[in-house]
């Protein structure tokens, strides 16, 4: 019983028999990539996707309905009704500062994405391609910090922010998210493989300074990973609730805070609550349709939960 595939391979290296063998091989490999799956597979997958889409569709259904209809029935209607934009309008013109939340979330997410990308690329390049004393232990330290949840330090962080006078201001949300250990690790991993030492050395031999080498050699190489990191950071920042909820107030909220405020405010009118959910989800939905392919590729490369 020594490797069963080898005999026929040797016997049929050319001609019709080889072609026949190739075809058989193709049919045989189930776990491989050759055979097209049957309809059952597509049915199962459709079911999975239905489950992942349905809650969002349910949001649209409720958000396009009205309070009276919702309070009477479980599913107001299977087809979206006409009140969607009216409800959105109501939410924007209500007592809760939705627009403020929207701009706050946008500002925070953009600043954090840019900052994480810049600092992570710098640090990642340094860890991946430069030699310096303490590189190993410092990198281990970075990785270890990825396991430490933010919430463990909320009490002192709150005290620090209050003493700086930042309590209630969005800068208190921005600063703790300016760097992430995940970002540094992500860029280190990427540049380790994507940037050959030869390129760095060539630039150095040509007399480029360190920062010039970084800018003209490392940054172009890092671009795909940087785009991915920006995407992940943006999403993570956009959906973040716990820390903004603690340090900000109801007059100066972020979008996740707004949706929760809607719930406690109009706790009987689900059409307005779901309109709020739609408002907060729509921007990421757009981003998802534009860059979903890259997001999938990023996770497939082995992203870690932020």
């Amino acid at each position: 019983m020594t490797s069963p595939t080898s005999l026929p391979v040797i016997a049929q290296t050319s001609g019709k028999a080889a072609a026949e063998w190739q075809r058989k091989r193709r049919r045989v490999s189930v776990g491989g990539t050759q055979r097209r799956p049957g309809w059952v597979t597509y049915l199962l997958l459709s079911l999975v996707i239905l489950i992942s889409i349905f809650p969002l569709y349910y949001v649209v259904l409720l958000a396009s309905s009205d309070q009276v209809t919702i309070s009477r029935s479980i599913i107001p209607s299977w087809i979206p009704q006409g009140n969607f934009f009216e409800n959105i309008d109501k939410v924007f013109n209500g007592a809760i500062p939705v627009l403020k939340g929207f701009t706050n979330s946008l500002i925070i997410a953009v600043i954090q994405s840019v900052s994480v990308v810049i600092f992570s690329t710098l640090a990642g390049y340094s860890f991946a391609k430069l030699s310096f004393r303490g590189r190993g232990p410092l990198l281990v330290f970075v990785i270890a910090t990825m396991a430490v949840p933010v919430q463990l330090g909320v009490v002192p962080l709150f005290i620090v922010m209050s003493q700086l006078g930042w309590s209630g201001k969005i800068i208190a949300v921005i600063v703790p998210g300016l760097v992430t250990a995940f970002g540094v690790f992500w860029m280190t991993q990427y540049l380790e493989n994507a940037l050959p030492y030869e390129l760095v050395e060539a630039a150095r031999v040509d007399g480029a300074s360190m920062i010039r080498t970084f800018w003209h050699v490392a940054v172009p190489a890092a671009r795909p990973a940087a785009a991915m990191l920006a995407l992940f950071t943006f999403i993570g920042s956009w959906v973040n609730y716990f820390w903004p909820f603690i340090i900000l107030n109801q007059q100066n909220p972020t979008l996740p805070m707004v949706t929760k405020l809607l719930q406690s405010g109009y706790h009987t009118d689900y059409s307005l609550i779901m309109a709020g959910v739609a408002i907060s989800t729509a921007p990421l939905l757009v981003l998802f349709f534009l860059a979903g392919r890259q997001l999938v590729a990023g996770i497939m490369q082995g992203a870690v939960k932020g």
Binding site: V155, A181, Q189
Partner: protein, 336 residues
């Protein structure tokens, strides 16, 4: 060679005596550049992390052994009194129970479902990207929004879940008053958001399994199920452990979904779904306004995470030393 470099020329401006010193100076500058630059590049991360991550973590320990009113500030040193007080409250134990229960109800089905969906996705599908994106869609919904949506689906009256049970001829479940149903509902929210994400991680690992393993198995007469359990699952061991570790860390922090489950956001009338993170918030910013106790719970949560991390580490290292069959590619993908 350094002399010819354009970017170094302006730097040497300061030296008055041109030729000889310029070489020496630019060389010294270059050496200094090489030595210091790496530290300069990593310093933004370490400085910011020290201020916003490391310092708060250590300071939490300091606060936890002091009397500390949220508004009044620091009081006397009280030793382990805060810890004792917290361990004495039933809410703490309820929160601990809830956290572990929700975590188990979410991570176990999630990992199983993710592996199965990944196995289905691993076929040679048409429109691959479409299916992968479809699976990932829930990931972009904010946990607080997921909480609101599912809070409605699992409403006690006029909820979709109870409506469905009614169609099946079963009585309604009291999602918001009973312990296990509330945990199930919250775990469903977590599963909704993360299953697709983990599916893609498993899918990546599955695609790294060499296809000759399957070919050999087929020639040996193994059916699909046998292939799945004898090849796919063992080859995925490292990835499974990785996903379990990340979902453990995430699972012990559940806050958003549980808070949005009802309008009050305090974990239910009888603390049925109060989680440890919610408890930290309640102690520090809720009725008690007691930062000392909040910090004590934060430290206890940290210890729990460390202990579980160590257990995970030992299991991982044991498996990785005994299971040398795992191909390198898979291991690498997992480490990320």
């Amino acid at each position: 060679m350094a002399v010819q470099s354009p970017p170094q020329a302006p730097r040497a401006k300061s030296s008055p005596d041109r030729r000889p010193t310029r070489i020496a100076f630019s060389q010294r500058l270059g050496r200094w550049d090489v030595k210091v630059s790496p530290y300069l590049y990593i310093s933004p991360f370490f400085i910011l992390f020290a201020i916003t991550g490391l310092f708060p973590l250590l300071y939490t320990g300091y606060i936890s052994v002091h009397q500390w009113h949220t508004l009044g500030g620091q009081g006397d040193f009280v030793g382990l009194e805060n810890f004792a007080a917290v361990l004495d409250q039933t809410s703490f134990w309820k929160a601990l129970r809830n956290t572990f229960s929700i975590f188990l109800l979410s991570s176990v089905p999630q990992v199983i479902a993710a592996i199965i969906i990944a196995a289905i996705l691993n076929a040679n599908l048409r429109a691959k990207t479409f299916w992968r994106m479809g699976v990932l869609l829930p990931y972009i919904v904010a946990p607080i929004a997921v909480g609101l949506i599912f809070g409605r689906i699992f409403a006690d009256q006029y909820g979709l879940a109870n409506g469905l049970l009614d169609l099946l001829g079963m009585g309604p479940i009291r999602w918001h008053s009973d312990v296990i149903p509330s945990h199930f509902a919250i775990a469903t929210m977590v599963n909704f958001r993360w299953t697709g994400y983990n599916t893609l991680i498993f899918l990546a690992a599955m695609q790294a399994i060499p296809s000759d393993l399957y070919e050999a198995a087929i020639i040996d007469g193994a059916g699909r199920l046998r292939q799945f359990f004898s090849i796919t699952i063992p080859q995925l061991r490292a990835t499974i452990i990785f996903v379990v570790i990340t979902s453990t860390i995430g699972g012990l922090q559940i806050f958003d979904e549980a808070r949005a489950f009802d309008t009050q956001g305090t974990g239910g009338a009888d603390k049925q779904w109060l989680t440890l993170t919610m408890y930290i918030h309640e102690l520090g910013w809720g009725n008690q306004l007691n930062f000392g106790r909040a910090a004590a719970v934060a430290w206890l949560l940290f210890l729990i995470i460390v202990v579980i991390g160590i257990i995970n580490f030992f299991i991982t290292s044991k498996i990785s030393t005994s299971g040398s069959r795992t191909p390198k590619k898979v291991k690498k993908g997992v480490k990320r």
